[in-house]
Structures are given as C-alpha cells and as structure tokens.
C-alpha cells in the first residue's frame, strides 16, 4: 500500500512536462516486467533446450539424432506435414474462395464449422477419430474386416493432424479475399478468361502472401501437434511416433540428452517459422499498405 502511494506521488511530480507520457520510473518498471517475463518464459527455456541437448557434447547430440527411431520420427513428421499441409491448402483456398466471393445459404454456418478444430481440445479431436475408426468405433469392425488400419497407424496420424490444422489457411484467406472483393475476377471474365485462368492469373497472385502466411502457420502446427496425434498414434517406436511424441518417450525413459536433442529440432523449426512468418507478414503488410494507398488515392 505504502509503495503504491509513493509511486503515485512520484508520478505526480512535475518532472515530466509532457501530458501524454508516463514518468520514466513507470516506463522502466513496465518495460522491465515485460522483458523479465519474456526472458523467463521464452528465452530461458529456448536456451535450456539447446544447452541440455548439447550437454554431453556434439557427438552425443548427433548420434541421438541418428538413432533409427529418431530418423523414423523425423520421416513420419515430414510425411504427415507433406500430406496435411497440401490438403489444408487446397481446402482452405476453396473454402475462402467460396465464402469470400459467393453468396449462399449456410455461409455463416460454414465459417463457424471451419473454426471447430480451434474450439475443441486437440485430445478430443483425437478421440473423435478413435470413436470413428477404432476397433470398437462406428467404422472399426468394417475396417477390421477389410484389413485397413487407421487408428494406431499412419493414416490416423495424418487424419488427426489434418483436422487440427484445418482452419489455418482458410482463416488467413477469408478476410483478405473479402476485402479484395470480386471486381477483378469479374473484369477477367468480361475480358474472356475462363475460371482457371481467372483463379491462377488474378485471384492467386492477389492472395499469395496471405496464403504463404497461412501455410507456414499450418505447417508449424502440423509438425508440432501433440495432443490429437498422441491419442491416435499408439506410440509404436519407429512406426507411429512423430517428433513431439518421440521427445516425450525419450524423456519418460530418462534419456534427457537425447530428448532435448530431438526437442531442439522442433525448437529450430519454431525459430525458422518465426523468421519466415515475420518476413512474409512484412511482405503482406507492404501489399496491404500499397492497396490502402491505392484506395486513398482513389477516394481523393
């Protein structure tokens, strides 16, 4: 109490003539809190991951990554992303196109539906697939009869990942395409372009930065997804373990150095994603600014 009163008195001092800025002390305190928080919760863990990973030297680090199980996990993660991201790219563009450029009944329902994967817990998402395709699930017996494995196999992991990363591209594109409107597409049609030409020559170039942004986010999540994948994977070493699952297994087995070595790959992925994201974000911002300037010029 006394402290806050002292602070108030300090801030009331006429040392700071400008009416709109806080006193120096307040500014430093706020900045300090922010930096301390960032350091504690973001930088320290990141550094710790790499420190722990390299704890037993670079050779141990590399050999941990060279383990057949580790390589299998990397392969599976890449495969999953390689399937899930293009699927969601296609779906996202199609959904955004339909929502932004056409009027139809049930449009707002579709928008809500796209958000479902964001709204439900990833574990529930995984469970849905177990309930659907698991041995005692709706389609389980039929799949068993036809010798098709989805749960505790690669298809289940891909399905769960696709479901969880479903909204990223569409969410990124819908506002962008809505803002751009349909006039350019109409102009292309009048000039004799067909649907594909209109899409590839007019629509796609206009949304490319937003699309790339969505794909980067989608990819990061696809590679890093734990909850949903954990439920459907079955944790079979060398077969159904993705990188995040493999990290957990190693950690539970007290192979800390190896666990952190694999985790460092994911951390690296996060860093690359962040950099790519800010570059692309900056690019799309530039485009947005150019569009805005154009709009201002138009109305002037």
């Amino acid at each position: 109490m006394a402290g806050s009163i002292a602070l108030q008195r300090l801030s009331a001092l006429p040392a700071q003539p400008r009416a709109t800025t806080e006193p120096v002390l307040v500014r430093w305190i706020l900045l300090g809190i922010t930096l301390a928080f960032l350091g504690m919760f973001l930088c320290v863990p990141l550094v710790a991951v790499f420190a722990q990973a390299l704890q037993k030297g670079i050779t141990a680090y590399l050999s941990a990554l060279h383990e057949p199980d580790a390589l299998a996990a990397i392969r599976l993660t890449l495969l999953t992303a390689a399937i899930a991201v293009p699927l969601n790219l296609t779906f996202g563009v199609a959904a955004a196109w339909a929502i932004a450029k056409f009027e139809f009944i049930g449009k707002s329902f579709l928008i809500t539906l796209i958000d479902v994967p964001f709204a439900v817990s990833p574990v529930i998402s995984g469970l849905i697939f177990v309930l659907l395709f698991g041995l005692r699930g709706w389609l389980g017996p039929w799949l068993y009869e036809h010798d098709l494995k989805i749960i505790f196999a690669v298809p289940g992991i891909v399905l769960a990942t696709t479901f969880v990363t479903f909204p990223f591209v569409a969410r990124e594109l819908i506002p962008l395409m809505q803002e751009q409107g349909t006039e350019e597409e109409q102009a292309a049609l009048v000039l004799g372009a067909n649907g594909w030409q209109t899409f590839f020559r007019v629509t796609l170039p206009n949304i490319k930065w937003g699309l790339l942004y969505g794909v980067i986010l989608c990819n990061a999540r696809a590679m890093g997804e734990f909850g949903a994948v954990s439920v459907v994977s079955g944790h079979i070493r060398g077969q159904t373990n993705t990188l995040p699952l493999y990290v957990e297994i190693l950690y539970n087995e007290y192979s800390f150095a190896a666990a952190f070595a694999v985790a460092s790959l994911l951390a690296l992925l996060a860093l690359v994603t962040l950099i790519a994201k800010s570059v692309v974000g900056w690019k799309s911002q530039q485009q947005l600014l150019a569009d805005e300037r154009a709009a201002v010029k138009e109305s002037a």
Partner: protein, 365 residues
Amino acid sequence: MSIEVQNVRKTFGDFTALRDVSFQVPTGELVALLGPSGSGKTTLLRIIAGLEAADQGAILFHGDDATDRSVRDRQVGFVFQHYALFRHMPVFENVAFGLRVRPKALRPSERDIHARVHALLKLVQLDWLADRYPSQLSGGQRQRVALARALAVQPQVLLLDEPFGALDAKVRKELRRWLRRLHDEMHITSVFVTHDQEEALEVADRVVIMNEGGVEQIGTPEEVYEHPATPFVYHFLGNVNLFHGRIHEGWARLGDIELEAPEHADAQNIPAVGYARPHDIEVTRYRNGTAAIEAVVSYIHPIGPLVRLELTGCDSGDLIEVALSKDRYQEMNFQEGERVFITPRKLRLFVQESQPAAGEGLPKS
C-alpha cells in the same frame, strides 16, 4: 453492333431493381443511362454485360438473342466504376490480359500483343506508364488504363459504369470530353451509366432517364431537357418551379393564372401541377393585362451569366426561382423586398395523380 433490351425485369429479394425495361441502342451510338442512385441503371448495365442475369426479358445484340450467352462470349468491353485493374500486374499486362487469356488458336503472337497494347496505351495517352503498377497511378490515369484494357479485346459494345464517378470535378470534365472524342473516332456502340445530368447531356447522343427501376423518358439531350415527359424528368434535369392548382373542363387555374388545357377537356376539378423552368418565367413590376402571380423578391444572386431571383408567392407562400439575363436584370433593377408579378412563358401541366413520389431531395443543378 446494336443493343436491344426487351422487357427486362430483375428483383433482389423484395427489392425490384428493374420493372419491365425496354429500349434500343442503334449501332455506333453513345447512350447514357441516367438516374438517381437506386434507379436500377447499374443493374441494367450489368445485365447487358452478362454479369447479372435478368429474371425475365431478353438482351439482343445485333438482333441475335444473347440473353443466355455467357459473359465471356458476349464480346463486350466493361469499364468498372472503381476500375478493377489487376493490382499485381503492371499497366502493360493489364491491357494485354484479354489477349493473353485467349485460346491458343486465337491468341495473337507476342509481337502483335506488344504492338496492340502500345497502340492502345498511346490512344489513351499513357504510353509512358506501361511499367507502372495501378497503385502508382492517379484516378484519371487508372480510368484510362481500364478503358484501354476494355478496348484491347476489340469489343463490339463498350459498357461503362459511372466512368467518372470517382474523379474530381476538373479531371472529370476533361475525361468526358476525351471520351466523346474517342467515341467519335471509334464509333463503337457504347452505353454509360451516370447520375450526373450535366455529364449525360453533354456526352451522350441519347439519354435514357431511369427512375425506380423503370424508364421515364428516352431522347436526345435536347429533347429530354426541353420537353420532359414526366414530372420526374422535370425535377431531375435542372431546376423547376411548381404551381399548384386545379383543372376543370379544359381550363387550368393555378393561383391567379388561368390557362387553356385542351387535353383535359373532360376533367372535373382535378388537382394539377404546372411545371416551369426558372428561365421560362417573366417578371414584371406591374400587372400588364394578363393574369399574373403576385410575389415578393426575397433574394438576388447576381453571380454568373444569369441572375437568379428567389421570390415568395404572396398567396401560396411558395418559393419561386427565376433566372434573368444580366441585361434584363440591369434594365429592371429589381430590389430585395420588392413586390413583382410573374407569368410563366412556358408551362407544362401534369395531373396530380400521375405525379410520382419524386420531388423532395432530388439533385438540382
């Protein structure tokens, strides 16, 4: 190529955008669709282009039914109100687009495309901007690029939606003269939409005046201005004074004036309104034999080639606007507050029932 619009109707939900519209545009003519916002003129233009489908009716190009022809096959050039230039392409590519998307068999060679685009850019006087992006151009420049792009595919019909709507007054005036000259050179059948009476009357060969989804009058600028067919057209094209009164057995009585109305010979005391333009009203200081309306000069605007007087009718209290030539004004030397007598030289009578709910809030130039 001539355009024929036959009994076109269009509704959007509960809103009737067009009710049974028909008219023709002869080959090579420049026609304006003129009307206030919400009159259906843009919808009509989009239906002609094929960007919108009519609920009923037909569109004929050169006598052939094109109602179900796709927008791609109509061979129309369309200039959008906000230009709709492809923002990620430089000016050159914007203009070349219509040629590049043609099927291989019909696509001109790269050299021909180059030649044609540069010829068009020269025509719109923007040859030097071929490498710029649309965002780097001014509104007037963009408008001309949009026009060059529409002309690149050698359309049979050119359709322009509020082509000068988003430009400032000066550029607007320049561009519309330029459009008129361009049309005189190319003789391509053109239809443009506008809500600006001055623009329509200055540029077009013929004007189609629209209101609430219907056609009010079609005619040359002179015809529609000098002989408005309906009270709406009177209101919409320039200022007009209203004199309320009644018609009885071929005679109309508006305040103190009485005049013959032979076309209403069997009218039995029905309410009517007389319409007279400000420059068709005579103002005198004394009652000179003929019946006249007594009024008081309430305000004088001596600016411009015509002097405008605002009068207040002594009986009705209505505002009456009169335009006098400068010479006449100096000769008479009216003063504010003075009592005068007015007689309409030219007056058109409309029976009250036929008057649409127009009147208030219409643009007056």
